[in-house]
């Protein structure tokens, strides 16, 4: 048996990781193909793949995927561009923190999805509304988490920099930011995951394109195969973006691993 915290080899890790997917699909196949679950409610894996293929080749699902990815990335980039500098300032300067923190903490708990009806009223069901949903859902989370990370910067590093002649600006630019850059990247990776949820919800409620729109359309047709395919595509894109983010972080912050 394995001891607590004992590492596993790389190959074992891969094999174990894949075997869960295999088990998952096997259980799904038995439940559906074995006739234990009605086809109306749950398509079997083969139908799902077939429907997916049809979606991609016949119904232009690729452009839906493209639109959804574009929305997530767009909204997320805007949120990050606003939130990271604000978070750094909040973490670094306590008066700014005292000023913004109570509001941001409150706004963080406002569910982005609940804003959708209001946003439709304000911005229609166009791209602006989608971007706003993602923006509202991400911006406060990023601000707060970045502020906490920056606020927890090792004091002795800051003091060392002061004794080496850093100005206050120098402390922010050449200690607080680089010291927390890996944490900030990790925060962005986490929030990007949540942004995916917001965009799909926004597309489910009011949209004429996108993965969420396809899923809600398929519901009308009782096409569970298509719906499941859409959900799985979201999962796969999430996995890919996560992987890319991690690879980038490893490249950008070699000192974290050294």
């Amino acid at each position: 048996m394995h001891r607590p915290l004992e590492p596993v080899s790389y190959s074992t890790r891969i094999v174990l990781g894949i075997s869960f997917f295999v088990l998952f699909f096997a259980a799904w196949s038995i439940a559906t193909l074995g006739g234990y679950v009605s086809r109306t409610f749950l398509a079997d894996p083969i139908t799902m793949l077939h429907d997916g293929w049809m979606l991609l080749t016949r119904f232009g699902f690729l452009s839906d995927i493209g639109i959804t990815v574009w929305r997530v990335v767009g909204g997320f980039v805007i949120a990050a561009a606003v939130a990271v500098p604000l978070g750094v300032l909040m973490g670094a300067y306590k008066p700014i923190e005292a000023f913004l923190e109570p509001f941001v903490s409150f706004a963080r708990y406002l569910p982005a999805s609940a804003f959708i009806p209001l946003l439709i009223l304000w911005a229609g069901i166009g791209e602006m509304q989608k971007l706003l949903v993602i923006f509202i859902g991400s911006v406060f989370q990023i601000i707060l988490m970045v502020a906490v990370a920056v606020g927890n910067t090792r004091r002795d590093l800051v003091e060392a920099a002061y004794t080496l002649g850093s100005s206050d600006r120098g402390i922010v630019n050449r200690v607080l930011i680089p010291a927390n850059a890996p944490d900030i990247a990790e925060i962005l990776r986490l929030v990007l995951g949540w942004a995916w949820t917001y965009v799909i919800v926004a597309e489910l409620i009011g949209s004429s394109a996108g993965i969420g729109h396809m899923i809600i359309d398929s519901q009308a047709l009782m096409a569970t195969g298509q719906m499941i395919f859409g959900i799985i595509v979201i999962g796969i894109i999430g996995l890919i973006s996560d992987f890319l983010f991690k690879a980038c972080n490893r490249k950008l912050f070699p000192w974290k691993l050294a």
């Binding site: 090792r154 002795d156 590093l157 003091e159 060392a160 920099a161 002061y162 004794t163 080496l164 002649g165 850093s166 100005s167 120098g170 050449r174 200690v175 680089p178 010291a179 850059a181 912050f253 070699p254 000192w255 974290k256 050294a258």
Partner: protein, 263 residues
């Protein structure tokens, strides 16, 4: 007597009590004059206010009373004219060894080519050639502290402050580090204020040992060390050294006992 570079005038420090507790009197009014090119060690039991005093000189903490003058000017905050080496490892983990040593020079806006030469010279002086492109995490504690010393010296401060810089190192490494630091001092005669609770270390390095009392700290004795330079580690077994050590051990023992009894 050479020129006085640093004057500590009746500096005291009282920390406000936490959660309604009584305020902590860490440092009684303390005065000390440091001559240029001197190597002064401050020796005292732990908790006696050594770090507090050094941090006030560095400008990282404010005295409750009194003032500190460097070259006749009152210290208001931290600055590049007072280099500091801390007990904890404070190299910037995101910078390589060479970039760490160059940090202060970069903040001063010294051009890259000049920076490179200074960094190379200090990398050599602390024996870290070949490690320029390593990250701090990849180095042992002793190597990290050598880098920290090089980083402080590369900035060419008027005075070098060291707060138990070798406190976390094993005995062998500590002895080597003492020789390395002393060697640099013997060549460059940078003014040094070195805090320690290790009696041997205090004697071996110093031209003057300042002994502090238990908390609240104040200066109890000011003992010149007349041992000749250059010093070699074998000196630690010489009769003169042993005599000084016996004297200081008595002084410190009394304080340690008092500190222990007070708790």
């Amino acid at each position: 007597m050479t020129r006085t570079i640093l004057t500590i005038e009746n500096v005291s420090r009282t920390f406000p009590g936490v959660r309604g507790g009584a305020p902590v009197r860490a440092l009684e009014p303390t005065s000390l004059e440091v001559a240029q090119n001197d190597f002064i060690t401050i020796l005292g039991p732990s908790g006696c206010g050594k770090s507090t005093l050094l941090r006030i000189v560095a400008g990282l903490d404010r005295p409750s009373g009194g003032r500190v003058l460097l070259d006749g000017r009152e210290i208001k905050g931290p600055g590049a004219d007072r280099g500091m080496v801390f007990q904890s490892y404070t190299l910037f983990p995101w910078l390589t060894i060479a970039e760490n040593i160059a940090y202060g020079l970069r903040e001063k806006g010294i051009p890259k080519s000049e920076r490179r030469d200074i960094v190379a010279s200090y990398t050599d002086k602390v024996g870290l050639r070949g490690f320029e492109h390593h990250y701090p995490k990849q180095l042992s504690g002793g190597m990290q502290q050598r880098t920290a010393i090089a980083r402080a010296l590369a900035n060419d401060p008027a005075i070098l402050l060291l707060d138990e810089p070798f406190g976390a190192l094993d005995n062998q490494t500590r002895a080597l580090m003492q020789e390395l630091l002393l060697g640099i001092w013997e060549r460059e005669r940078k003014t040094v204020l070195f805090v320690t609770h290790d009696i041997e270390e205090a004697i071996f390095l110093a031209s003057r040992v300042i002994v502090m009392t238990a908390r609240p700290g104040r200066i109890k004795a000011d003992i010149p060390v007349e041992l000749p330079h250059p010093r070699h580690y074998t000196m630690k077994t010489s009769p003169e050294f042993s005599q000084l050590k016996a004297q200081l051990t008595e002084e410190i023992r009394a304080e340690a006992l008092q500190a222990d009894g007070a708790h």
